[in-house]
């Protein structure tokens, strides 16, 4: 017990005595750790931002689109029954029909074409649709006499930002004039986006909005997608033997992680920075050992074993780099959690994830590893010093 404590106390005393020299050596290590940890942390944030943006437009991991096509259009009633059968048989919780349509809305400034997305309530979950005001569609919204619409920020601005509590109306101009109720607002997918809106499929049909090409999307667990897709495809093929059945993953991760390569490349550069820091530290440690030959000899003469000398030199390096690692990680947290950086790296996120623990562990672990490597070589040199020669050095 006293042996371990005394090794720590001795290492700490060495750090205290040689603080200026060690501080200089550690600046490089701390900067390297900051670089490495920041790359991992910013990469994680960018990945999360990219994921949210991609999931908003393409669906969560794993979103599978099913379609039945052929020389003739399949009977819609039979097709819907087949889709609902799939939902029941495979225990799918979230599904949606999606389709695109154009509609003309009366705005205070005049009539304007609006891109409509016709959906079912499950779309909100599958596409991570976060409303900034109001709410997303509920199952019973389809029963409303005045169809509900969830509009984009651009639509909401064009409509004069009415108070949603007062259930503002939006007039659809066309062969069949309809008054819709704005129930929610979602962020624009990209800056300067034109006005757009969502409406439930059933309500759109009642309002006489013709749907273009449509898809049936289901959300399944990532690990099950590979097994479920051929099963669902075979299931539909059996019901529509003359048709071409397609089951395709739509989400961003369908073909692997698209930003992993970039993150590995940047991480490799950060690793090189860390290596340079380690070499600087090793260099200073080796020079220092030359200056400490006599001191090591004196310590040996007072009973320090070679193991104790090794541990002492190692410990000094480890304690120092551990402190540098903590400082480096703290700096990286300050960088990654900086609001300006968060906004620039992940503009799609409204709430930012906590600083990734694995990035902090990686940074701290790398610092300790550098300390071990930069400490082991001088420690071996120190052990080989002959006591007699050292005292007379």
């Amino acid at each position: 017990m006293s042996g371990v404590v005394s090794a720590f106390v001795e290492a700490w005393q060495e750090l205290r005595i040689n603080k200026v020299r060690i501080l200089l050596a550690l600046v490089g290590v701390a900067v390297s750790v900051t670089a490495l940890t920041s790359v991992v942390g910013v990469g994680d944030l960018a990945r999360e931002g990219f994921k949210v943006q991609a999931e908003r437009s393409q669906g969560r991991t794993a979103t599978v689109a099913l379609s039945v096509n052929g020389p003739t259009t399949p009977d819609p009633v039979r097709l819907e029954k087949a889709y609902q059968g799939i939902v029941e048989r495979y225990g799918i919780s979230y599904w949606t029909h999606t389709g695109q349509a154009q509609a003309r809305f009366q705005f205070p400034g005049g009539v304007q074409d609006v891109q409509m997305t016709l959906v079912d309530p499950g779309y909100g979950v599958i596409h991570r649709t976060d409303v900034t005001q109001g709410s997303w569609f509920a199952d019973d919204d389809e029963q409303r006499l005045a169809p509900a619409v969830v509009v984009s920020e651009a639509f909401y601005n064009t409509a004069g930002r009415p108070d949603l509590v007062r259930k503002p109306l939006a007039k659809l101009i066309g062969e069949q004039e309809t008054t819709a109720v704005i129930i929610g607002v979602v962020p624009d997918l990209f800056p300067q986006a034109p006005p757009s809106a969502f409406m439930l499929n059933g309500a759109a049909q009642s309002a006489g909005i013709a749907k273009g090409y449509g898809q049936f999307k289901v959300w399944v667990q990532d690990g099950q997608a590979a097994a479920l897709m051929p099963a669902m495809q075979a299931d539909l093929q059996m019901q529509f033997p003359d048709m071409y059945i397609d089951a395709t993953r739509m989400d961003y991760a369908a073909h692997g992680d698209p930003i992993a390569v970039a993150q590995v490349a940047v991480g490799a550069v950060a690793g090189l920075v860390l290596l340079l820091g380690a070499m600087g530290m090793l260099n200073i440690s080796m020079v220092t050992i030359r200056y400490r030959v006599r001191e090591i000899g004196i310590r040996r003469s007072f009973g320090a074993t070679s193991g104790r000398i090794f541990v002492g030199v190692m410990m000094e390096s480890l304690v120092a780099t551990a402190v540098a690692g903590i400082v480096g990680v703290m700096l990286a947290v300050a960088v990654v959690k900086n609001p300006w950086i968060q906004q620039k790296v992940a503009p799609a996120l409204s709430e930012y994830p906590p600083f990734p623990l694995e990035a902090a562990m990686l940074g701290f672990g790398a610092a300790v590893l550098v300390g071990a490597l930069a400490g082991a070589i001088p420690a071996l040199v120190a052990v080989r010093i002959k006591v007699i020669d050292a005292i007379r050095f």
């Binding site: 006293s2 042996g3 404590v5 005394s6 106390v9 001795e10 005393q13 005595i17 040689n18 006599r294 001191e295 004196i298 310590r299 040996r300 003469s301 007072f302 009973g303 320090a304 074993t305 070679s306 193991g307 104790r308 006591v387 007699i388 005292i391 007379r392």
Partner: protein, 232 residues
């Protein structure tokens, strides 16, 4: 008196780069008893330091028998020797060899980092007691570069004695001091050694310092010979 150190036919030789063997010590016979004060005199290059290294368990003989408290040291490993050295031998060097940048107190505490149990945990208290014993308690916070040669050697003595060693080895303890300071330091060293019943072996080329010892030896060309017995 208990036999602390016993050397019988001890030799020490090294192989030179041209494969020639250099015999530094030849057939050394020496007995050191508890509470004894022994002086070894000799010219530079006669093997004094090599003998000191053997006596201090810093080195092992090439041949012959060296026993420390009855244990043949050539048969024990380096780490066990280091532990034995730490607990039973205190060194006083010619150039003081204080750790620069550390206070007097830190220097005196240094050997206690290698002690176990109570001595380690009470290191500050023990070091202060020893500083007080050499009359430098008031200078506990001073660093070596702020001290005179005499003060530095007294700190070195305090450091050598803080673990209450059975054997004190002093290598030219007055070599870097003026005559008057040297005498004061030797008187202090002798009185503390006598008080703690430790054996004191002084290696010196100064006959005045050697004259303070009760047993005296001359080392010449690696051969040790008793000079004269001084009655206790």
């Amino acid at each position: 008196m208990e036999t602390l150190l016993s050397l019988r036919g001890v030799t020490r030789s090294v192989v030179l780069p041209d494969d020639q063997e250099l015999h530094i010590l030849r057939g050394i016979d020496l007995e050191v008893f508890s509470g004894d004060h022994t002086a070894i005199v000799g010219r530079s290059g006669c093997g004094k330091s090599t003998l000191l290294n053997l006596l201090g368990l810093l080195d092992v003989p090439s041949s012959g028998e060296l026993e420390f408290l009855g244990t043949p040291v050539q048969h024990i490993g380096g780490n066990a020797r280091a532990r034995l050295r730490g607990s039973t031998v205190g060194f006083v060097f010619q150039q003081f060899n204080l750790l620069q940048g550390r206070s007097a107190l830190d220097n005196v505490m240094t050997p206690l980092y290698y002690a176990k149990g109570r001595d380690f945990w009470r290191r500050r208290e023990l070091a202060m007691e020893m500083l007080d014993r050499v009359g430098l308690a008031a200078r506990a916070g001073a660093k070596p570069n702020m001290m005179s040669g005499g003060e530095q050697q007294r700190i070195a003595i305090a450091r050598a004695l803080v673990r209450r060693p059975r054997l004190i080895l002093a290598d030219e303890p007055t070599g870097a001091l003026d005559v008057e300071t040297g005498q004061t330091v030797m008187a202090l060293l002798d009185s503390i050694a006598t008080e703690s019943a430790a054996a004191l072996v002084t290696i010196t080329h100064d006959h005045n310092v050697a004259a303070l010892a009760r047993s005296r030896y001359r080392l010449d060309a690696g051969v040790l010979q008793a000079v004269a017995e001084v009655p206790a």
